[in-house]
Each structure stands twice: as C-alpha cells, then as structure tokens.
Symmetry: C2
Subunit: 430 residues, 2 copies
C-alpha cells in the first residue's frame, strides 16, 4: 500500500483538501450512527418473534418425558442437542446445552480449568507459574478480555487467509509448556471472515504440544451464518483430534444468540467424553440445571436441522444487502486509491477494514467527531493494542440500510482524510 | 431424649417386635416413594403455566424502552428488581437479576472472590493460605458442596431456635482472619425452619471480624414462602450492616425457583453499591447479559409485589396440607414415645426430624429397604458428616398427598425400628 496510486504530491494535496471539506460537511450533518457491535437488528429478531409465545401453556414435557419446568437435566434436552449436532460437528451425546451465553460458557470453562484439574493436566491452571493463550489477530476482543482479567498472558499470532499461521502456532505450543490454549473462530472469523482450511484444522488437531493440558477453544459462533449461496464447510476438529491421538484437545462452543434472540438464546459446549464429564461434574456443584423450558422453546421453534437452515436463510436475506452495501461503498469511495483494503466475507457478522499503518485510531477518532461510533481501533488485538494501528472492525448488521450507507460513506471520508494526511507526512519525510 | 417414656425393658422389646413386624409388612408393599429433594410438585408448577406463553408475540420492550430480545443489560430489568426489592430487603438499585439459578450466582460469587479481589480484601482468596466458611448446622448440602470443591474449609456452628449460635460465630470470626464467610438461610432455614431473630441479625451485622473481606452469604431462598397465616419478617441485614459500619459485609441471594418454575426462573443478587459494582464489573467479562426476555416474562406474570404475594398464597394452599400431614402422622406415630423430635416450620420447604444419636443413617437405610428414598443422613452437615448421626431432612412438597402419607407412615416405622433397637442396646450396656 503506497502513495503511487495517487500520483504526485499535488494530487495528494488535492485529495486531502477534498477529504477535509467532505469531513467538515459530514460533521455538520450531526449524525448519530453506531457500528460498534455485532448485534442483530430488530428485523432479524422479529424472525424469532414466535419464540415469545412458546412453548405455550400445557407444553412442558420433553421427548423423554422430563417435566422441563422442574429442576435437573445438567446436559440439556437431547432433542435440542440433536438439532445442533450437525452444525457444530459434535455428536449429540457429547454436547451440553447451557444458559443464554456462549461467552459465559467459555468464561466458566476457563474458570473451571483454573480451579479444577483438566483431564490430562498436572495441576490446576491457577497453580501454574504462568498460563498463556495464543490469540490469532485480528480476533475477538471479548475472548481476550476474559483471559486478561485472570492474568492469562495473551500471545498474538498472525492470521492468514487459511487461519492462524500454523508454523508460528506449532512452534509456540511445542516450545512453551505454559501455552495452555488458543482462541479460534474457525468459520467466518471475527473480524476478517476467514474460514480455516482443512490443513489448518488438521495441523491444530495433530500438532505436538509441550503442555499435556493444551486446549483449542473453538468458538464456532458463525457455524450456520452463511452469506454466500453455497455454505462453507470446515473440517471436523473433534474427529481429527481423536484420530490424531489428542481426543481431549478441543472445546467446541456455539450459541443461538445470532440465530434466535441475542439475549435469550441457548449456548452449547461440545467435547470429548472425558471433557464433558469434567464439565458436567463441575457444573453439578454450580447449578441444579439449565433453563430447560427455553431449550424446549427452541426445539418447538426450530424443529430440526432443516428448520434451522431455513431460518438462517431468512437472516441472510436481511443482512446480505447490508454487507453488499458496505462492499459497494468501499469499492466506490476507496477502490483503486491504495488507501485501504477490506475483507469480503462469505458469512459471519463483520467486515475487516485495513487502513495504512498508524491510521486506525485516528480514523476512529475522526468518525466519532462526525457522530459515527466504531469499535475502538486495537480492540481486535490482545490488550487493545494493534501494533500496526491498522485494523478497523465494521459491524454492518444492526443499523438499518440507509443508516449503514451513511455511516460507511462517512467512514470512507475519514479514511481518505487520515490516510492522505499520513501519506503527505511520509512524502515530506516526517 | 431417653427411654423412660417407653417404660421397662419388656415394653421396649414389645415395641421393637411390633416395629419389626410393621417394617416387614412395609417392605412387602414394594413402595417407590421419593422424599429426597425440595422440589415443587407438578401442581405447584401448574400455578405458573401462563409463563409458558408469555410475554407473547409483539411484547418484548421493557419499561425503559429496552428491546429485551437483544444483548445487554447486565443488572437486569428495573421493573423486576422493583417487585423483589421489598421481599428481599434490598433497594432495587442494588439488586442484580441473573440467570435461572441462585446456586449458580452463589457459586459464581465465590469464584469471583477466589479470582478477583473483593472490596476491602488484601488479596484474592485463591492467594490466601487458607479460606474457611462457617456452616450453621443442620444446613444446606449444596452450600457446603460448592465450597468443598474449591478446598474451602467448612467449620460447623450449632443452630439455635434464633439462628446460628452467635457466641460461637463471634468468637470464630474475631479470632481467625481466614474465616471469610458464613452460610445463612435466614428465614425458614433449610432444613429446620428456623427464622433468625432480630438480635441474631444485628449481631451478624455488627460483629468485629479479623478478616477485612468477611462476607455473610445470605441465601434468602424462602423469603416469601410462608406456611402460617401471618408471614414471618426478619430484620434488614443490609441496612443493619451499613448502620454498623460494615456496608460491604452481606451478599443477599434469592430466586423464583420455588415461586414460578424451578428450572426456568430468575435469580437475584443484592448487596452494597461497592459489591454490586464489583460483581457487575466481573460479569461484564463473563457475559453480554442475562436472559431479559425471561425477566420480562416474570414481570408480566407476577405484575407487582401484591401479585407475588397472592401467587405465594396459592402455593401455600397446595403445600400446607402436606406439611400438616407430616406433622399429624409424626405426632400420631411417634408423639410421646421419646424416640424422635421434629420441627414444625412456619414456612420454607423442609421438616427436620431428629432421631436418637447414632440412628439417622440406619433409619435412612431401613427406609430405602422399604422403597422410601430420603436425603442421605449427614447431608445436612459439612462433608456429609453429622457427628451425632441424628438429623434427617424431610422434603414434603414433591409427592402427592397420599404418597407422602404412606412415606411418612413408613418413615415412622423405620424410626421405631431403629430407635428401639438402639435403646435395647443401650439398656443392655452395649
């Protein structure tokens, strides 16, 4: 990414002046737009409105005769586990259905590993001199934050178009027995939409690790969140781990937060029989059971795997026009300028926008001046620190289409403003 | 409790022979009855059947305009906090509404204290050389179990008719800085139905503690679960703590598990502003928010504090006949024999049955032989160890009335059988 596309210095100055003018006009509009979080829009939530009257009076009995209103049932309803077994690539018998938040299941799994010895572990993580997690970057800020508060060290690993750079990952886990985990969003990753290649998944499953209790935290948050016509399939990591003699290596997570209701869905944990027994054994001291009525509600609403797939197509119909609009506007405003590059994901919730090094924070600041709230630059990296200050996460789903278009047009103005200023500085040797 | 009521040895032998005969007849009936857990019956759950169709399509907006379907709102809906503010004696602004399990909130609060420094604490509990909790006995097995798995030492404290023996409590917390907590079920306590006196509550709030981060875990599980015509009121511990210069001392817990649906209710945490900020600050790393739709569902169903009280009267109408039956049968079968004593609670979920020392395990065993499942003897004590082997917890709510009557008649037979045998042993000097 150089200034060559912009031609000579005069042209750069003219472009910057135009951007200054456009930004002033943008500020004058007094917008108030929010692109910060990957939240479903109200219209998406409307798709699940029927849930609000389900299961309905008189319907509270699971397929096996369980009265879902009462206590018990730590593993969750078998019929709901059946629906998600395929999409999450976990046998139903090895799936656990929890509360409304997969983040809470991930957090609790880290907590359990800190306080109760994992299968294969020599000691509790809290008794280790040091615990480190690998964090492919850019990645998901909430993964990083939940580790950071427990003093877990976060080691960035670069992403490639095939997933994390496996040469780096293999070296780190082989050399350092204190590396206990890696965060992965394997399909339509947050934020850059990468889908892990079969070879990446195989290497994660097969690689030797110095830690006997190393775990892959496999946050398959967007397993069924396709934007393209042909859904992406990724390799089955749980099976590959077992085939490679590492059956207990992976913790699979998922949820319906971006399928049914963001705040009132159900979350999933899947793993080997030994890990599931460890999790449920710990959970038995924590709760008398999850909300089985909400699980039954989801069974009645989704019905089966095909019902789930049809529901996700309705989501796609609502959000693909938004992703298309973002790409169209970025192409129109920034295409060919060399000032930015961006992902064009086949699924998931985010578009990752890369600006010239050292510009991301300033772009976010300039957007805020114009009333356009973006996820803080750096949030995609451990400790909020993007060393190249380059990556901006764009979340297109929540605003309506017209607001989104305004916001992305405004964002493009801010990119032009900041990037041209940076290139002028470079040209003058500062 | 002596053998004097039974008169001479011949009479004792005759009573034992009669009990042997009755027990053989009982076993021959092949019963299968379960008095193990404090679960609501299906008829109690039916009282909340309307919840299963609430809030209903189109109704998903909280009083402040929040779309309850989406992410967010860590503290829970203000209108639901208002309903439970009075019953739980916590200002609505200092209440937090969580998921479906108050046990999970208690567990998570212990975990947070282990891993994140409490207000006033010198260090995280996991970094303490030792952490101990006082456990008034008899008490609730799940409180003990959740501590035990983290290596928290459990120190039994005797219960009195006014609550825990405060002379013992005051001495232990004054002398031992590693005593960090006490488990309390202050109203209609599990299992013996004790209500803490105002003086007990005041002393808990005012007592000097060696630990700066000592906490009272105030599990007000039966705050509105009255059996008598005039509800018991207990003193306001949160206010008393503040008045006595210990504002951060108490964590209040509650839930609707035994109000609406045991598996699909909502749980509450209440405390000082500093403790609430600590809890929510930690929760912000754990989840994007609780299930607000289930909270709205509860608001629509209960409506207000009077709606809650009326609902609890309907529960009382269903369960008081069961408690009355237990007391009537115990009076009839064991009254005046000196073989047992029992509580006659004014609320809550349990009756505590005391048999002669060294008999509780054997009574439970004999009941099991006759197909009557009781909570294991010892469960009411830390580490499952009742040193006097004396206390049996009876849970009358779940079975229907006829089953309950059969079970208590059978239990009385087992008490007569085991207690007379024990008295005969004693009489013969063994």
């Amino acid at each position: 990414m150089t200034s060559s596309n912009l031609g000579d210095r005069d042209r750069l100055v003219a472009e910057h002046d135009r951007a200054l003018h456009d930004h002033a006009a943008l500020v004058a509009r007094g917008l108030s737009l929010d692109l910060t979080r990957g939240k479903p829009s109200a219209r998406q939530l409307d798709l699940s409105e029927a849930l609000l009257a389900l299961p309905g009076e008189g319907d509270h009995t699971a397929a096996d005769g369980t009265d879902c209103r009462n206590y018990g049932g730590l593993q969750g309803l078998p019929e709901l586990r059946e629906i998600f077994s395929g999409p999450l690539q976990v046998p139903a018998a090895q799936l656990v259905v929890g509360g409304n938040s997969s983040l809470a299941m991930m957090h609790d799994t880290v907590v359990q590993a800190l306080l109760s010895r994992l299968p294969g572990a020599e000691r509790r993580w809290v008794d280790e001199p040091r615990v480190a997690f690998l964090c492919p970057v850019p990645g998901y800020d909430r993964h990083f934050a939940l580790c950071e508060r427990f003093g877990i060290e976060l080691i960035p690993v670069p992403m490639t178009p095939e997933g994390p750079d496996m040469d780096v990952v293999e070296r780190l886990v082989r050399e350092d027995a204190q590396v206990k985990g890696i965060w992965c969003v394997p399909k339509y990753s947050n934020p850059d939409g990468v889908c892990y290649s079969d070879e990446t998944v195989r290497r994660l499953a097969a690689m030797p690790t110095a830690a006997p209790d190393f775990r892959v935290f496999w946050d398959n948050a967007y397993a069924v969140h396709h934007l393209a016509d042909s859904p992406v399939e990724i390799a089955d990591i749980l099976e590959l781990c077992a085939e490679n003699g590492n059956p207990d290596r992976v913790f699979v997570f998922g949820s319906t937060s971006k399928i049914t209701l963001a705040g009132a869905g159900v979350a999933f944990f899947g793993s080997s029989p030994a890990n599931v027994a460890w999790l449920i054994g710990n959970a038995a001291k924590q709760t008398i059971g999850p909300d089985k009525i909400n699980q039954l509600r989801h069974v009645r609403f989704l019905k089966d795997a095909e019902g789930l797939a049809a529901h996700m197509r309705r989501h796609r119909d609502l959000i693909r026009p938004k992703f298309d609009a973002v790409i169209r506007i970025l192409d129109k405003e920034l295409g060919g300028t060399g000032l930015a590059s961006w992902s064009d994901p086949a699924g998931g919730y985010f578009i990752s926008l890369d600006v010239p090094e050292g510009c991301a924070r300033e772009v976010v600041r300039k957007a805020a001046e114009a009333g356009i709230a973006l996820t803080p630059a750096g949030a995609t990296h451990p400790y909020g620190d993007d060393p190249l200050d380059r990556t901006i996460r764009v979340a297109p789903t929540y605003p309506d289409l017209e607001e989104l278009e305004l916001a992305i047009e405004g964002l493009a103005v801010c990119v032009r403003l900041v990037a041209t200023a940076r290139l002028m500085e470079r040209a003058s040797g500062s």
